[in-house]
Symmetry: C2
């Protein structure tokens, strides 16, 4: 072994959901949106003047920052944009979690959080969800170096009201509290309404779910200008030009088309509610989902068996071989047609 | 001041060259290519099926990895792709430079290197270039935690032969040596030919200069499979999906069109050689550039004065207010027409 091998950073990387390239599969394993992005995105790509590509993009990502600030009603100095919310969260962990005290996030949650802690050597503790998979607020009222609360939580799909989030933010004035709202548009009120009230709050959202743009990699966060300046400084110390020209212009188009956004989100919520009823009839139980997925367990057949059976039918859902949740499937809400095929397949598997 | 402010990472961010949005300026300040990307890039963007954007992109960036492996004659397991070579270098610094010994790079070089060291708490030393701005090989034969050599170096524009690089790599079997070849296509032989001979060598290149795609953010590195696996693991611990779908397909098109690539690189080299002659006539001296820029000083008029005079004429070049190089301008090679305007403006300023 060469000496240089000792200097390689040891990490346990995040394992993303499978991205099978087979045609004609039904892909309900990575919480993607089944509908295409807003029509303006197609237009702006087709009209894109590629001769501009020889120049660097705007390092401040200004057009998209301006559009998001306008849409959500904040100042431009309150918005940071990154290459998907994973990029935003990675930068935020690196920027804000440099205390020796552990940061806190739920034991069952987005499995990337401990990966970032490992990468950046951030100590962490994971308070357990209760037996109904709900976050216990009081567990976050202890000394800590920061807090991350996903709302709705994944993979549990449970949404907490803004007043619940506010209690956590208010009780931790010495910590930065990140609310990871990847699924908020399928749920209810956003904690964005707290941003101007609490300077220790950072709200993270993504274009990958409700805006049908996982393939374009756009995420953002909103907070007080001091937090945004700090995360921008770290970004400029990592890679000045993170967003390519095409994502910037197509992100702007996606935000502009509020009517399209509301209609696709509405369709997904409608399909989710129908799917809940049919899963119940088949003997499944699940927390009351407010996301674009359902976290379900069957009263008789093990989740792993169903996962494999569905796979044999070319239907992909997510299965986590982890304590407490090894008997659950995380099923993304697709189109009505896709859900019908899923339910048909499940019916056969449950005979 | 709130307590959480103590936990914010302190950084001194990299300052990219200005990106003025004024129309009709001549922009020779960030070493961009004046020609548009290959025609295939325009085609693939116009034909892009935006309905696919609702899905995540391929986290392994396989189509582009395959194309680069084919083009440069390596195995797929030897290629890593990132969001510009800054992303590749940031990931490489984070992955490979975890020794307590200082890493080494030249005192006059890419100003992002010390920024990454600061961000990741990597100790570093910067051996001085000689009085002709050349790298002194022997300075790198001391104990170190890694080495970064840009070739051609920037902003000096000086290229060293592969045998020179090989000596440094060979004399440092215990360190990972990164050769940053952002400008290699304007220069001469690449150190890629050493990759299969030395397992401690990583060669980094970019699409931002010779491939006219700064706006698309694509960079890559090639090395032994163990190095590539390690940097991929860190990438998957940071952000699984860094490259959007559009950059992946357009990157493939750029690599495929070798004829277009050779012709635009050839034109830039031709313009560079003509510009050298005319700058000499005006009383400038400069190292013999093998890059797409010239690093020039005038025998009478201070660089700062020329920089400001050019700016008043809407011609932007790069000026560094730094020890040793405060009397130099870094002038990007644009089109013949742009260089004529630059030279006309300089002639007037030198009267």
């Amino acid at each position: 072994m060469s000496l240089w091998e000792n200097y390689i950073r040891k990490v346990v990387p995040y394992v993303p959901g499978e991205q099978p390239r087979k045609p004609n599969i039904i892909k309900l394993n990575t919480n993607e949106n089944p509908y295409p992005p807003a029509p303006g995105v197609t237009r702006v790509l087709q009209d894109f003047d590629t001769s501009k590509l020889c120049m660097y993009p705007d390092p401040t990502i200004k057009p998209l920052v301006v559009e998001l600030a306008r849409y959500y009603g904040f100042g431009e100095e309150q918005v940071f944009v990154g290459v998907g919310s994973d990029d935003v969260l990675a930068m935020a962990f690196m920027t804000f979690f440099n205390s020796e005290k552990p940061i806190l996030f739920p034991d069952i949650s987005y499995s990337f959080y401990p990966v970032w802690c490992n990468l950046f050597s951030i100590p962490f503790k994971t308070p357990a969800l209760d037996e109904k998979f709900k976050i216990i607020k009081n567990d976050y009222y202890i000394e800590n170096g920061g807090i991350v609360i996903p709302n709705p939580n994944a993979p549990t799909s449970i949404y907490e009201e803004v007043s619940f989030i506010e209690d956590i933010v208010k009780n931790n004035p010495d910590s930065i509290v990140i609310i990871d709202e990847a699924y908020i548009d399928f749920a209810g009120a956003s904690s964005l309404e707290l941003v101007n009230k609490y300077d220790n709050l950072l709200v993270v959202q993504t274009f990958s779910k409700s805006r049908s743009m996982a393939g374009m990699r756009i995420g953002f966060c909103i907070g007080n200008p001091k937090l945004i300046e700090a995360i921008n400084n770290v970004k400029y110390s990592f890679n000045s030009y993170t967003m390519n020209m095409v994502s910037i212009v197509s992100g702007v188009e996606a935000v502009k088309d509020d009517e399209y956004f509301n209609s696709t989100v509405g369709r997904i919520i409608e399909t989710r509610e129908k799917t809940k009823g049919r899963l119940s009839e088949l003997g499944f139980t699940f927390p009351d989902s407010k996301a674009n997925f359902i976290f379900a367990t069957h009263n008789r057949v093990p989740a792993k068996e169903l996962y494999e059976g569905l796979r044999a039918d070319d239907i992909y859902v997510r299965y986590f071989d982890l304590p407490r949740i090894y008997n659950y499937l995380r099923i993304t809400i697709g189109t009505d047609e896709e859900m019908n095929k899923l339910l048909d397949s499940l019916s056969r598997l449950l005979i």
